[in-house]
């Protein structure tokens, strides 16, 4: 097509680019890696992706740049479908949250996590039951009693999104203690916490990172954590209490457990070498002090799974979400 000098120059440039990359047997990215976030800018998944991007850049963990791209449309469906459509493109990874399971079930978009190649579980995000500190509920029991006593439909639970993790937990609580909340969906976790401070809602199930500032400011009070054991972080946060001091909901008679996945997937049909490259990369990321600080600030559960263990975990969670969503009546009519 293009002849003569220009062509020669282009070939030379291309050759130069190629020789710049290592010729070891294992796979390595040769182009910028797109890191898809199936959620909006500023949310939990976005923060994590950009932290990872910063760590990778700062510690020079990858030769090619990592580019974060938000594809939030349709509760993340846009992002999932985009990666699903990029078969054989190893330069595309995606960070997921619970919408990996909930979005296809609630909206009926043609997607299942099996369409992607699982890489690793980075962490699990905790959920805590929060109330306004001015309210007289000091324990789960006070809270449940108040919810049961309130006129039907007047006890309000705020949460992020509709038919997603927050509302699933809300339905779980309703089942566990046999009462009924009015669930009000908001756009983001920070907004939910502030609505609780302003007494526009009665309780929330915010992630630790979303509400910790208000807890330290004495505006909110945590009642229990929706995990099998208390969180691991012992450092005092507010009033001499630490994350570790928050009891589990089950121990308080509220039988509901829920953790949200923060995991990495690749586009379909990735080779073993490619998956291994990313597993190795994220292992390095997890070893950095920045990552550990980030985990501490959000009181994350730092479980790390890869390979078959990860797939097994995903299968169990997929089934669990199907049951939870079906019981709650959240399935889209098409399913």
């Amino acid at each position: 097509m293009k002849h003569s000098i220009l062509h020669v120059a282009l070939v030379a440039v291309a050759a130069l680019c190629a020789s710049g990359t290592q010729t070891s047997a294992a796979w390595e990215p040769v182009r910028p890696v797109e890191f898809i976030v199936p959620a909006g800018t500023g949310g939990g998944a976005d923060q994590m992706a950009r932290t990872i991007q910063g760590i990778v850049t700062k510690h020079n963990l990858m030769k090619q740049p990592m580019v974060v791209i938000n594809k939030a449309g349709g509760a993340g469906g846009e992002g999932f479908l985009d990666v699903k459509a990029s078969s054989n493109n190893p330069h595309k990874i995606i960070i997921t949250l619970s919408n990996l399971f909930t979005t296809p079930l609630a909206t009926g978009i043609p997607f299942n996590w099996k369409d992607l190649t699982p890489v690793a579980m980075l962490a699990l995000d905790e959920f805590v039951l929060w109330v306004n500190a001015e309210k007289p509920y000091n324990s789960v029991k006070d809270y449940v009693d108040a919810a049961k006593k309130a006129a039907p439909g007047t006890f309000k639970m705020g949460g992020t999104g509709s038919k997603q993790e927050d509302q699933i937990i809300t339905v779980g609580i309703e089942k566990a203690v046999d009462t009924k909340f009015t669930y009000i969906p908001y756009k983001g976790g920070g907004e939910v916490a502030v609505q609780l401070v302003g007494n526009h809602i009665d309780s929330t199930v915010n992630n630790p990172i979303e509400a910790v500032a208000q807890w330290r400011g004495g505006k909110l009070r945590p009642l229990c954590v929706f995990d099998a054991q208390p969180m691991a972080y012992n450092e005092a946060i507010a009033d001499g209490k630490s994350w570790h001091d928050i009891p589990t909901c089950k121990s308080q008679g509220l039988d509901m457990e829920y953790l949200m996945l923060r995991g990495i997937f690749m586009s379909p049909r990735a080779t073993k070498d490619q998956v291994e490259y990313y597993v190795d990369l994220f292992t390095k990321v997890r070893a950095t002090p920045e990552w550990q600080d980030f985990m501490k600030s959000g009181a994350f559960n730092t479980s790390f799974l890869t390979g078959a263990d990860y797939t097994k975990w995903l299968e169990t969670e997929q089934k669990r979400h199907e049951v939870l969503m079906k019981e709650a009546g959240f399935l889209s009519p098409g399913n």
């Binding site: 282009l10 291309a14 680019c17 190629a18 040769v30 910028p32 797109e34 009015t182």
Partner: protein
Amino acid sequence: MTARRSDAAGPAHKAVETGVALLIAAFGIIVIIGSLKAGINWGAEGPRAGFFPFYIGVSIVAASAINLWSALRETDDRLFAEWGQLRQVMSVVVPTAIYVGSMPFVGLYVASIIFIGWFMRWLGGYRWLPTIAVALGMPIITYLVFERWFLVPLPKGPIEEWLGL
């Protein structure tokens, strides 16, 4: 609005006005159909997903009906635009459509080079040298600013793939 001379030819304003009103009404009908699918009643938790869009669709159709009626009643025979003017408008719309349509296949850069080059050479009547300078310069600056500096990937085609960019 546009044509002042009576001898100039072109589509009548009335006809275009009627067409636009019909187009908007058609859009309104699509909205109504979509809303019906989503559910338009007032459920236990307030209005359902299709409630507002349904009435929006109805208002669009109603407003278009009135606009259509007043367009048809219009007696003045002014022109929408002269054919010559429309030809000039189309001389931008058509290449832009080709440019936009080819982007997913050949990528943004190649499409932009051809588009700018075509525009300057055939519409602007510039010499080859300035044409090539601008047509190549703009995509190169774009590449540097977006892809290298701000790390925003833009659509690429087979040539970029071959160059390893």
